[in-house]
């Protein structure tokens, strides 16, 4: 019973994160800002839902497979959003209108 409640809490938190990402996607206007919020759904939302499912199933082969999926999300989703961000930065000529540039370079 306790496990059920805990897993339900995790899954609800994950769904909440995904809904927030959806709302944020419509409220922000520029691509990079939208992507910042969208990437949250990928990482936190999916991971929270999967953790909830792992708690629900308990320790067996299925939960180990879900655990492999969590590790995959941890590695793959940052790479995906990084490539989108770099493409946008290279392709957009008016990027300086959208964000201010700060430099901490020591060179």
């Amino acid at each position: 019973m306790f496990r059920l409640i805990l897993s339900a809490l995790f899954i609800l938190a994950g769904v909440n994160v995904i809904i927030t990402a959806l709302v944020g996607n419509y409220r922000f206007s520029y691509v990079l800002n939208r992507m910042q919020v969208g990437a949250t759904a990928d990482t936190m939302g999916a991971i929270l839902v999967l953790v909830g499912l792992v708690i629900k199933t308990g320790f067996n082969m299925i939960s180990l497979k879900l655990f492999v999926m969590i590790i995959f999300f941890f590695v793959a989703s940052p790479v995906c959003s990084h490539f989108l961000a770099r493409t946008e930065t290279i392709a957009n000529e008016d990027i300086l209108d959208e964000c201010e540039v700060v430099s901490h370079d020591s060179i």
Binding site: T20, R27, Q36, V37, T43, F74, H104
Partner: protein, 156 residues
């Protein structure tokens, strides 16, 4: 790494029988040889993991805490009555020599909500932040300190 490959094979199969185990041992050996031969993998990475096991655990815990802290900040921005954000593009240097650790740093910055690594060129990082508060102090964040400690352990 060999054990990890074998474990992965067993997890994907879903059960342990003699045939699966024999196939797994042979296939993992083949993949391990391929990695050493063509993907520039060498057993010295395993030494690195063994030496830094404690720091890697600490790093994961810190990473999860940072993710939650940043997520709360992003939530406030999304649900505030009026959208008032100042996106920033921050350029900074890190003095981490190892290429793998720089990759880990770039991935942790991207996985934290609100910040995305746009470009990494040698040790010049270019990070886009949703709001200027998220980019504050990014050039000497907790991640960099922990990674530097790990790097010190490689040589010493």
């Amino acid at each position: 790494m060999y054990i990890l490959l074998l474990l992965f094979w067993i997890i994907l199969n879903g059960k342990i029988t003699t045939e699966i185990l024999i196939f797994g041992v042979v296939l993992s050996a083949a993949i391990f040889w391929f990695m050493c031969r063509y993907l520039e993998y060498s057993p010295k990475y395993e030494m690195f993991v063994a030496k830094n096991l404690l720091w890697i655990l600490v790093y994961f815990i810190v990473l999860i805490i940072e993710i939650f802290k940043a997520a709360i900040t992003v939530y406030k921005r999304v649900y505030s009555r009026k959208i008032e954000i100042q996106p920033q593009m921050v350029f900074f240097d890190v003095d981490i020599e190892s290429e793998f650790l720089r990759f880990v740093l770039a991935n942790s910055i991207t996985i934290t909500p609100g910040t995305i690594t746009v470009d990494v060129d040698d040790n010049h990082f270019c990070v886009h932040a949703l709001d200027y508060t998220l980019a504050e102090g990014i050039e000497d964040s907790v991640f960099i300190k922990l990674l530097k400690k790990m790097e010190g352990n490689i040589c010493g």
